[in-house]
């Protein structure tokens, strides 16, 4: 099975032509509490494990799509046209290849991202999710959530989780074609939950998360224990979300993140997304927690940290971390 086979399975054959002048989509960024780290199929982005995320509400990507006036795709990110030679533009064109009405049809993509790109803040997740939503609108596919999640996954695995606000679970699935590997919104609200974004660096990463997870999966002697770690994390997260237990949610997410980073340290060659400030902030979080404050963190494939806590300690978090950006994921709930 290749990506085109999946597209042919999902998209109605009478919906291959644009149905509007412009299609639009918005997708929130999502922060995984149980990480996606390792693939059972690289072509279809099928993961080794389930994963579970919380969406960042109004931090995300807004995308419009229309026909390109040129004989090439145009990608405009935050008002600047992206060179078609960049990895970013190529990944988008590669996905768009699946949806061209004919081979000479090119797209113009205008996208606004209000989170830093490629700094471990899951911008590719919201980016590819918004792109699929915009395509769904442009072609009037009228696809169900499951199908949209599968298509978003073809662009970027974690994009499968970026179609909803709140808690989202991505089922790894077992089938070869990945038709059972899609995300779903979990029916739980937690209005007092907060995420705190601690930006340590906006620089592009030396190693993409795609490269990183492949290297960990292929070379870390600890990777064999990763699926069990995630299964335990998933169980704890489900309980924590149902009972609104921040200690359980925070500790499960933090342990999962550290386990993911431990697979990087034990890869060959080893790699580490931490910067010295990442480490000093982690030590600060541990110290604050030792004093009885229920503050936790998670960290993706980048140097930045995401604090996990509830609104009761927002004042403490603001006073301890001057530059933190606090997000209420259930703002409108």
């Amino acid at each position: 099975m290749n990506q085109m086979d999946i597209v042919n399975l999902l998209i109605p054959h009478d919906r291959k032509m644009p149905a509007k002048m412009e299609g639009h989509g918005y997708a929130p960024s999502n922060i995984a509490l149980a990480k996606y780290w390792g693939k059972r199929n690289k072509t279809l982005n099928l993961p080794i494990t389930d994963s579970l995320s919380i969406s960042l509400f109004d931090k995300g990507t807004s995308t419009s799509i229309e026909a390109s006036p040129y004989t090439h795709d145009m990608v405009i990110l935050n008002d600047r046209e992206i060179d078609s030679d960049t990895l970013f533009a190529q990944r988008i064109s590669h996905l768009l290849n699946l949806f061209r009405p004919d081979p000479s049809f090119y797209f113009k993509i205008t996208t606004i991202n209000n989170i830093p790109s490629a700094a471990g803040l899951a911008s590719s997740a919201s980016g590819f999710a918004a792109l699929i939503l915009a395509l769904n609108d442009f072609f009037q596919w009228e696809l169900d959530d499951k199908s949209l999640s599968i298509l978003a996954r073809l662009g970027s695995g974690s994009a499968s989780r970026s179609l909803w606000h709140g808690f989202v679970e991505w089922h790894a699935g077992v089938s070869e074609d990945g038709m059972d590997s899609y995300a779903e919104k979990l029916p739980y609200q937690w209005p007092s939950l907060r995420l705190g974004i601690l930006i340590i660096s906006n620089r592009e990463k030396n190693i993409t998360s795609r490269e990183g997870m492949n290297r960990s999966q292929q070379t870390s002697p600890f990777y064999s224990a990763w699926p069990t770690q995630v299964a335990q994390t998933m169980e704890k997260l489900h309980t924590a979300i149902k009972t609104k237990d921040i200690e359980l949610l925070g500790s499960a997410a933090e342990q999962n993140a550290l386990a993911m980073h431990a697979t990087m340290l034990t890869s060959s060659p080893a790699f580490c997304y931490w910067q010295t400030e990442t480490l000093s902030q982690i030590q600060k979080i541990w110290q604050i927690r030792n004093e009885g404050v229920p503050l936790y963190f998670t960290e993706d494939a980048g140097p930045n940290l995401k604090l996990l806590f509830t609104d009761e300690i927002s004042d403490i978090v603001r006073s301890e971390f001057r530059d933190v950006e606090i997000i209420a994921p259930f703002h409108l709930s």
Copy 2:
């Protein structure tokens, strides 16, 4: 089996009284290239895995032993008497309990340690090894190397490896009484090998290596893969030592150290001996290596790093790391 049973097995029954006014011993510190991290028996310090170290030649502990003039043990470390309430003094008295000619006999221990204590520089290894050598001299036990290694192990696991210069291998053994768990000198010289000690902090550790290894063993989901990691490291180290292959020695030792630290990060609660400077120096080492210089590191249960390289690049190491102390482990070979 308790510790006393082992002592009764090893020490001749007619050698229970001091044979001299003073006994003396010197033991070098040792740096593990394949780490000792986890015990199959805590009373006897029997390890889960084999380990392999390189001794620091003239960095170590020199100890004299005589009868105490008081009704308590006296421990004098680097010209200062150590309070008998300290963990350090208690660990020594606990070991000395095994060797008192009668319960009212107390020892005076005078010890000179030319390496920083409790900063992950294996001072307890050389300390307990020197103590056993001094006792062997004081009582004129005339024990063989294997027996001395077993006795040193009762004081501190890694002390079993501190009785020799050069490369030393500690066999984990399988027997309940640990009579097959002892160290041996390996018959290989490598005169151009260098260790570079990078002291990042001399502060006492918050978590002793004893506590740390127990917590990792009991709580890290990755610990199950640790024995396989060590077995692979041991195989690589044997080949590297025989063929004087610094790339193989360095990469095997570095990966093993990072794997040990990864079991700490994934413990519950997590802990980390790294300080921010540890991380920045690790990144500097990786950068230097990316430029083609065969420079590696290992790190024990503390923030300090030990560089691994050969004399060909000593000048580079000295210019890149101003405060490095370079040791030639085969100085007299």
